[in-house]
């Protein structure tokens, strides 16, 4: 039997991770956490998480970059802000979860599951049309997740269709999606001379 070490040596941690997270907007609050666990107790989904919100904060501070970014927890967070409101140290935990999702996607080291894919697909659709077409998003998700729930999804879609709440051939789009894309392009471009 191979001996498996389950604890990391200090040199295997990412010493810069905490300061990287702390440098994000609002991130300085990272150091205010008192590890009381009120967030985990308040969170309606912490019982399904591989690391509770308190552990996530602790792991960031200790430099466990890989464990944090690959954690399923950050994608289970529904951003209901219950933890943020209850935190006695005013740590905006929900905003940390968002920041971690962005870092995980940037690093391409994230928990492979449906939600990261949904977020990216959502963004693509809005980039194309300026708005989201719920029915089309639902369709894409159904195709992605496979036939297991197709029967119940079809029944649901039929009910909504009959009541005029699902228009199968309608695309919700701006009159001029290009006017939105122009803003987003300008944001990504390096600032021009003389522009603040």
């Amino acid at each position: 039997m191979d001996a498996v070490r389950t604890v990391k040596y200090e040199e295997e941690l990412d010493a810069g991770f905490a300061s990287e997270v702390a440098a994000l907007p609002g991130g300085a609050r990272l150091w205010d956490c008192i590890q009381c666990g009120t967030c985990s107790a308040t969170c309606p989904v912490s019982l399904y998480m591989d690391r509770t919100p308190r552990q996530i904060i602790g792991l960031i501070r200790a430099g466990f970059r890989d464990e944090v970014l690959r954690s399923r927890s950050i994608w289970i967070c529904t951003s209901c802000y219950a933890c943020t409101v209850e935190c006695p140290a005013q740590v905006p935990i929900t905003d940390f979860m968002f920041a971690l999702k962005r870092l995980a996607l940037q690093d391409e080291r994230y928990h492979r599951s449906l939600i990261p894919w949904v977020e990216r697909t959502f963004v693509k659709m809005v980039h194309a049309n300026g708005r989201l077409t719920e029915s089309r998003m639902g369709m894409k998700i159904a195709l992605r997740t496979g036939p297991r729930h197709w029967m119940s999804l079809a029944a649901m879609a039929w009910r909504l269709f009959r009541r005029g709440r699902l228009r199968p051939f309608h695309t919700e789009r701006m009159r001029d999606p290009e006017s939105l894309r122009a803003v987003l392009r300008a944001l990504k471009a390096p600032p021009r001379e003389g522009v603040a």
């Binding site: 989904v45 943020t84 999702k101 977020e119 300026g130 005029g164 006017s179």
Partner: protein, 286 residues
Amino acid sequence: MSGEYLYYPGCSLKGAGAPYERSLLAVFERLGLRLVEIEDWNCCGATAYLSVNAETAVALAVRNLAIAERTAGRDVVAPCSGCFLSLTKAKRALEESPDLRARVTSALGQASLAYRGTARIRHPLEVLMTDLGPAELRKRIVRPLKNLRLAPYYGCAILRPYEEVDDAHTPTVLEELVRSTGATPIDYPYKSRCCGGMLTTGVPGIGLRLTEILLDAALEAKADALVTTCPLCQYNLEVFQGRLKKPRLPILYFTQVLGLALGLDETAVGLDQMLWRLPLAPGVTA
């Protein structure tokens, strides 16, 4: 009070949230308040953009505010709680970071849009209860919804994290609205607990459990219907009842309940578009 507002529908009210839009417009019209749709608005960014790129998320939301500000002195009414929070959060982000504000206003400027940060973002529940007020509402009620027991459900975004609409721990504004229609607001423990959000689709094993907890609480408190303020909450609580094998509980928008009490008929408030219909109490006919 000007009586005129700029209306930011958001994508859901043009989709499965259609009865919310229908009842909202009908109620505002009946009360003599005008809603003017913001010209060529775009998606608020929802939580998806915040998960991918924070700066884009803010710019996306703020573009709508910049268009709204072309009409000076009018508040923006955002009925979807998700949109309401995205817009509010973006506005606050620019207030907190001059650097981000400079970058976003410059990008908007290149698309000939100016953002000054003057537009107020409001949820219609708060608009009705503040600008009109419960006393004024009561005067307009022509069909009191007597004997109807309604479970008020706030969801998250209009209370947390900013307490924009009411106190995060003991909100009362929705109860007040229900009371002003003549119905009885029932007390139950999970008025602002998470409805499951996107998890009902993303991880149904978790999401549907959250939905189930709320339905069970409302059913146990013997509610005739549950009243929501958000299209995602409404959707989760209504359409998954079949899959959860629950006794039918109508899930209504607060604007539908108010509309009925104001004398609007069932179709005018989109009750015909709901999956599970409201059994109207004796003495109340729509």
